[in-house]
């Protein structure tokens, strides 16, 4: 019996690889297993190798696994590209149609050539080969065919009972074929029983979109881009029911400026994009900062620069998010570390944007945005809508003509009351030009300093108020090493940490969730008491490590583990490199 395993299905893009993974995953999730999946795909629609790697486990996992247990191959390329990931004794289920061959130099693995296409065609359509492959997988895992019935019904019942039965038959024949070869289940592939708990199964982008809807976002102007589009696609489906809408704009500049217009009008409005779009939005983000207009921007990071690696993992927009706009504005950058975080942090992004009247960038990375995983059900009672000093619906004190509302009034916390257009006695001016308390342009040096100070000091209370600006798993007072990461890297660090701990290395983990303003005082004690600090990040220049050095100092003990080849870190890579970096130091002492 095993507690976790990795299953991968691969083939040509457009061949149903995603749906095969989906059916397999949902069936496992409904049995109560924890799942974590990662899709390898290219920037094209038909053709090109794609695969979907799914980790099934009896406890939560948030990283791609190092090794593979079962590979389902719809073509030879899938075997050539992925077979080296298989562990010794791993299994390949290959379509007999292409006469599968094992590449040289592989660890001993078992290959079952199953007539996936043939069985499917005999049942009516080659499209059902994915169902046959699922049946074949089930035979390896010792899962009963009937455990797929309920997902098959969800998918096909609207097409009629007959279609359901055909698909169940495809699963059964795939199962029987492999079962005859193996003579029953293989005990080394049998998973421990799952807890049976009901969980959600979703990608980070789903959670962001659901978070936005729950937070009261009712308008989203956006321009399609990988890997952000699912957010707008979800809201396109859902917003009309709640009176809101999505506009697909002509470009990202229109998206962000329309979002600023929506928020100026008093509606919670967001946009979402990736690096190229974020670059285009910079001037307008400055306008939001200068005019103190709340706005939420999601940046799903992908490989840059320029078009870069549009379907691959990277975390290289950090510098751009913090420093991208010209001039100086108050701005918030939030970095959820899990799909759960994506939901709750998105709600919080809207609250912060309105309470502090600032642009808030919610940053994810491709692995988090598109990786599908099981999530504990969201807690409705944790959702709170806080709109700060917004005055919608209130009667404002009467004013004479020319006596404008002090929209930029100097207050103790730097945040001023905010009427919306349409409100009587709320007239004021809004401009990206430096302005006085009523919003009228002013070049007075005294006013300039007052307004700059007002804006720049607004966020002083944020670090203290934000829930878990850094999430710690830091049990050691005298850690050998503090591992630091953001977004999807957190799960990988966690796994590397467990392995290092088993070898006696004292590892603390700090996951930064508020990137800007930087939670200096929160993380400082942990940096100071660690013998070494290693920042694990998907970029080439160590952007997070540089932030840490800038704000916390201790540069001499801060090292980086970097990966920028487009793929997420594997736990083993982090484990090995951490060991390498601490080899000559205290690690030897503790391991003796």
């Amino acid at each position: 019996m095993i507690s976790q395993l990795s299953w991968k299905v691969g083939g040509q893009q457009g061949e149903g690889i995603e749906s095969t993974g989906e059916i397999f995953s949902i069936a496992m999730a409904r049995m109560g297993y924890h799942l974590y999946s990662y899709r390898h795909f290219s920037s094209r629609i038909k053709g090109g190798h794609t695969n979907n790697k799914i980790r099934v486990s009896t406890k939560p996992m948030r990283a791609v696994s190092d090794v593979l247990d079962i590979l389902v191959a719809f073509d030879q390329e899938t075997i050539d590209v992925n077979a080296h990931e298989l562990r010794e004794g791993g299994v390949i289920i290959a379509d007999a149609k292409f006469n599968p061959k094992l590449p040289d130099g592989l660890k001993p693995v078992r290959m079952f050539a199953v007539p996936l296409t043939q069985i499917a065609e005999e049942l009516g359509t080659s499209l059902m080969k994915n169902m046959v492959s699922i049946g074949a997988s089930a035979a390896i895992l010792g899962m009963p065919v009937e455990s797929f019935r309920n997902i098959v019904e969800d998918m096909f019942l609207r097409k009629g009972e007959k279609v359901v039965e055909k698909n169940m038959e495809a699963i059964k024949q795939g199962f029987d074929f492999v079962n005859n070869l193996t003579g029953g289940q293989l005990p080394e592939f049998q998973l421990d029983k799952a807890d049976g708990s009901k969980r959600l199964f979703m990608i980070g982008n789903d959670a962001v979109a659901l978070g936005a809807l729950t937070a009261g976002c009712r308008f989203m102007p956006a321009y399609p881009i990988t890997p952000a589009s699912e957010i707008m696609e979800y809201l396109i489906k859902k917003l009309p029911k709640f009176g809101g809408t999505v506009i697909q704009t002509e470009d990202e500049i229109a998206a962000i400026t329309m979002a600023i217009g929506g928020n100026y009008g008093g509606v919670r409005t967001m946009t979402a994009s990736a690096g190229p779009g974020l670059s285009l939005m910079m001037e307008a983000i400055g306008l939001a900062g200068m005019t103190e207009t709340p706005v939420v921007i999601v940046d799903t990071q992908r490989g840059g620069p320029s078009t870069g690696l549009p379907t691959k993992q990277e975390q290289s927009d950090i510098n751009a998010m913090i420093h991208g706009t010209h001039g100086e504005i108050p701005k918030v950058v939030l970095a959820p570390s899990s799909v759960e975080d994506c939901f709750y942090d998105t709600v919080e992004a809207f609250n912060i944007a309105e309470e502090y009247q600032v642009p808030v960038i919610l940053v994810t990375d491709l692995t988090l945005s598109l990786g599908k995983s099981t999530v504990e059900p969201f807690d409705y009672s944790r959702v709170e809508i806080r709109r700060g000093k917004l005055l919608t619906g209130q009667e404002l004190p009467e004013k004479e003509q020319n006596d404008l509302f002090k929209r930029y009034e100097l207050t103790e916390d730097g945040i001023s009351p905010r009427p919306i257009p349409g409100q009587k006695f709320g007239l004021h001016h809004v401009t990206g030009v430096e302005h006085d308390q009523t919003g009228r342009p002013s070049e007075s040096p005294i006013n300039r300093k007052q307004q700059m100070d007002k804006r720049m000091n607004k966020l002083n209370t944020l670090v203290d108020r934000y829930p878990n600006p850094v999430l710690f798993d830091a049990p050691h007072e005298d850690a050998d090493v503090l591992l630091v990461g953001i977004n999807s890297v957190g799960g990988t660090i966690q796994e590397a940490k467990e392995r290092l701990e088993k070898e006696g290395v004292k590892v603390n983990h700090a996951q930064i969730r508020l990137i800007h303003p930087f939670p200096t005082e929160v993380i400082k004690p942990y940096v100071e008491k660690a013998k070494k600090v290693i920042v694990v990040e998907n970029n080439a220049t160590g952007q997070i490590a540089n932030l840490l050095k800038l704000h916390v100092g201790n540069a001499e003990k801060i090292d980086s583990i970097l990966k920028y080849d487009g793929n997420p870190f594997l736990p083993n890579e982090v484990y090995t490199q951490v060991k390498g970096l601490i080899k000559h130091g205290d690690y030897e002492r503790v391991s003796q």
Partner: protein
């Protein structure tokens, strides 16, 4: 009810004496009063340039944004609050150079926004460079040998991308301009009003006198029908884009807001944001 006086404020415009934009300011103030608006029911969103300052010179809600982006901001505001009368305003550089992409798409989208372009065929605030509205051969600081690019015709451009309201006017024709702005505000959809608004400092060619000699009122054209798109296009071409008046209007086409599925009459800005527990549970269940 508000009169034009209520739309005036005490800010002294920083435009040069004689600038065509003063008439546009006055026409907006008159039109707003004539159609029965109160100052808080009007919002002007403007771009950058001399003309972009206009949102601060009318007593109403106003947003002066970034260069070329008045239209998307205005559309975002309109979506947030469809009860507001939203005017977008800016210069020819704002609308036909840096913001051209937004102009074309705002016209296609047909949201109920009135777009007033103060067209002086030159860049004024940066002290005299060429504009996409400058005629071929036009000599400026940036085109010392004369512009070698052709000028855009706002009217033909708008007609070609499906405009439902296209008008053109001239700063000296305050009465006509005021009427066109009123019609534009009342039009249910996007209205483009291109106003020849002479720059007395940097444009010594397209002066008040030049326009008086060259523009042709559509009222002077026998049997002109502003509902005939093909004729509108051909007249505009025939008169080198120098028509004055309501050139085209399509009253059949519904506005964007009217076509958005599920979009309520009550402005989004006034709606309750919270999601009921029941709705939340339904949404979450889709991921189970």
């Amino acid at each position: 009810m508000a009169t034009m006086k209520e739309f005036r404020n005490n800010v002294k415009p920083n435009w040069c004496p004689g600038c065509g934009d003063f008439s546009v300011q006055a026409a907006i103030q008159r039109a707003a009063a004539n159609v029965g608006l109160e100052p808080e029911q009007l919002a002007i969103v403007s771009g950058i340039g001399c003309s972009g300052r206009i949102s601060g010179y009318v007593n109403c809600y106003g947003l002066h944004g970034v260069h070329g982006r008045s239209l998307p901001i205005a559309q975002g505001l309109k979506m947030a609050n469809r009860d507001l009368t939203v005017i977008a305003a800016g210069g020819d550089g704002d609308g036909f150079a840096i913001g051209m992409g937004h102009t074309v798409h705002a016209i296609r989208r047909n949201m109920d926004v009135t777009y007033i372009v103060m067209d002086n065929q030159i860049y004024g605030l940066t002290k005299g460079q060429t504009s996409p509205r400058s005629a071929a051969g036009f000599v400026t600081k940036s085109t010392p040998g004369g512009s070698i690019e052709s000028a855009i015709s706002p009217v033909e451009l708008a007609l070609s991308v499906g405009a439902t309201f296209v008008a053109q006017s001239f700063s000296s024709d305050l009465k006509g301009l005021t009427e066109l702005i009123e019609k534009g505000i009342q039009h249910k959809g996007f209205s483009l009003i291109n106003v020849f608004s002479p720059c007395v400092t940097y444009n010594k060619v397209n002066t008040y006198d030049w326009f008086k000699e060259n523009i042709v009122s559509v009222d002077s054209l026998e049997g002109y029908d502003p509902h005939d798109r093909i004729k509108a296009m051909s007249y505009s071409m025939q008169y080198k884009g120098l028509l004055n008046g309501l050139i085209y209007q399509n009253t059949e086409q519904k506005s964007y807001e009217q076509l958005v599925a599920g979009f309520k009459e009550e402005p989004l800005a006034y709606q309750d944001l919270s999601l009921s527990k029941e709705d939340f549970d339904k949404l979450v269940a889709e991921f189970a």
